[in-house]
Amino acid sequence: MTSKENICSNDLGYTLGILLLRLWLGVRAFQTGIEKFAGSGKPVDSTVLVDGAPNTYGLTETTATKVYAMSNYNGVPAPLYDKFINEPLIPEFALNIYNVVLGPALIILGLTLFLGIATRFSLFLMGLIYTSLTFGLILIKQDAGIAWLGVHIIMIVMALALAKYNKFAIFKKW
């Protein structure tokens, strides 16, 4: 095997590596943003079967369906919002802006990463979002969540390090 073939082989690995990181981080951000629009639809009642036949008592089993709607949107989940609002280092107006921006930002950055549009810039912005989330979790002492976001940051840094091998992209500048 020649040294040229070795270089090509290494490049292919890096190219696939950045592609995988882009896909993972893109899906992770995009679907997280979409889920902020999820809520419960109208519950559906079905009759409970006993011995294979509808029970005679009228017992029902309620199945809640999941629906997506603009009206369901919560950028910061309500339990976290209630905690953040009481934090002196988080002004209410800033929290409200963050609440509005977070979901769309995750969706847009997820899409740009997935499609390869300004990959390095997208990765950097995504890293800033995860850093801001880390700040909030530090205040409310959610160490497990902080560690989980730390893993995301490591993956983003790895993707930035491999950015020069980013071949399957729509817009490579930035």
Partner: protein
């Protein structure tokens, strides 16, 4: 040739006809014979008492078809107005408003009446409505005295009218399923030896009710309606209004917490065991609300003799704490425990480790139970093996009820009026179940066990 028949209400017809007396007893069969589906088939309904419980009942029946709301009465004008508005906004028609039940029953042609007044008025209003030819749904307790409750049974028998008592769990499909299928048919509990029930309420839910004075009845009205009963001095307007809003605190007006809250659940003890208790011992105190006439906390033990052996039922009603998981009735047997509650969230079923697993697995397979989790020992360094029992597996009912808790009971009442079904809790059966409850406060006051005789419990 045109004929115009004279306008005559059914009540006028019954009272004026020479055969009216005979038809009164036959009235249920007349109602049963009516063709369904036509507007004339609507059950004409009136309300006596328009407070909170009437609101609960009305909300439970708003989706039941075939009802025509006709009239409502309450001595508090604002409450009647609220009922009028609720019906107007929901159904877009007007009802007639009264301040007197007698006047309403005299003037209106009603098929059914809902009595949701203070406990000490249940019996007079129910008897009055039954004798006016109406079927009656009366809130529990039937009365603040056992004599009052007996007068309802007598009036029901005398008039031949239906009288449903508001022990709504009796019509709840979850309760019916547990009793008929799990306890009676499948005997999942084995021998039920102990029962434990409670209704614990936080202090915040046990405070005095207050209202804007300008909408409350005047002193002469409150005296006329007996809100001064048992007072040892002439009550001021403020005192009378406190009694009007907080009648549950006064011994002459209600049975207190054991009656308000305990009656629902002690009824389940008797219903599920299929028998009345043999005795009661009780303890109670005005431990926090020292100025209230009734006990704020009561604990009692009923002893039963069932076909399988003796059993004991402990019940507590506490108005100073919400601890202990709200309200439930737990039936503890040798094979399993069923923790029932009107709230699905408080309902759990447990299999003893020694019970036949094959049988329980089969119940799951057939759809009678759902398995939730396998019992896991708590463990820890403080556990001493010889003290511990193997943890029970946890199960759940296969389904729930997709209606408000009172709706099936009201549906049963209307169904019985139409002749489609039998009442699940008529006054006679209700009194058989309620009778022991009337003796809890006397037992707590005397600190003596009351061994029940026919005299204590008969209907």
């Amino acid at each position: 040739m045109d004929f115009k028949l004279p306008s005559l209400s059914r009540r006028e017809f019954l009272s004026k006809s020479t055969i009216g007396a005979g038809l009164v007893l036959g009235a249920p069969s007349i109602l049963k014979a009516k063709a369904s589906g036509s507007p004339g088939d609507d059950i004409r309904v009136g309300f006596i008492g328009c407070g909170k419980q009437q609101e609960v009942l009305f909300n439970a029946m708003v989706n039941i078809p075939g009802i025509r709301y006709v009239a409502a009465c309450d001595i508090m004008k604002a409450r009647v107005g609220r009922t009028f508005s609720a019906i107007k906004s929901r159904f877009n028609y007007n009802i007639n408003r009264y301040l007197s039940a007698e006047e309403m029953l005299d003037k209106e042609d009603l098929d059914a009446v809902f009595v949701a007044t203070p406990d000490f008025w249940h019996a007079p209003h129910t008897v009055m409505a039954l004798e006016a030819g109406c079927h009656v749904y009366c809130e529990k307790m039937m009365s603040n005295t056992i004599e009052g409750a007996r007068s309802i049974v007598a009036a029901m028998d005398r008039t031949g009218k239906l009288c449903q008592i508001g022990h709504q769990r009796r019509s709840n499909p979850r309760y019916q399923f547990v009793l008929n299928e799990l306890i009676q048919n499948e005997n999942v509990c084995g021998q039920i030896i102990n029962i434990n029930g409670q209704w614990n309420r936080a202090l915040s839910s046990s405070q005095d009710i207050v209202s804007k004075p300008s909408i409350l009845p005047e002193a002469n009205i409150l005296r006329e309606y007996g809100f001064n009963a048992g007072a040892d001095h002439t009550l001021s307007l403020e005192e009378l209004r406190h009694r009007f809003l907080n009648w549950r605190f006064y011994t002459e007006l209600s049975g207190g917490p054991i009656s308000d809250l305990g009656a629902h659940q002690i009824d389940i003890f008797n219903w599920f065991l299929g028998t009345q208790p043999k005795s009661v011992m009780a303890s109670g105190g005005r431990s926090y609300f020292k100025d209230r006439e009734h006990f704020d906390n009561v604990m009692c033990i009923f002893e039963y003799e069932t076909a399988l052996g003796s059993a004991r039922a402990f019940y507590q009603v506490l108005t100073t704490t919400s601890s202990g998981g709200g309200y439930y009735e737990t039936f503890m047997g040798t094979d399993g425990t069923i923790e029932m509650s009107e709230r699905e969230a408080y309902t759990n079923i447990y299999k003893e480790s020694g019970a036949d697993s094959t049988k329980w697995d089969e119940l799951v397979r057939r759809g009678l139970l759902k398995k939730e989790s396998v019992g896991v020992a708590a463990g820890g360094s403080d556990a001493i093996a010889s003290y511990e029992s193997a943890p029970p597996d946890k199960y759940a009912l296969p389904g729930g009820m997709s209606k408000q808790p009172h709706t099936p009971h009201v549906e049963n009442f209307y169904g019985a009026i139409r002749g489609d079904t039998k009442l699940t809790c008529d006054a006679r059966h209700a009194l058989e179940s309620e009778a022991p409850i009337y003796w809890v406060n006397p037992a707590a006051n005397s600190h003596e066990i009351i061994n029940f005789t026919e005299e204590h419990l008969h209907a």
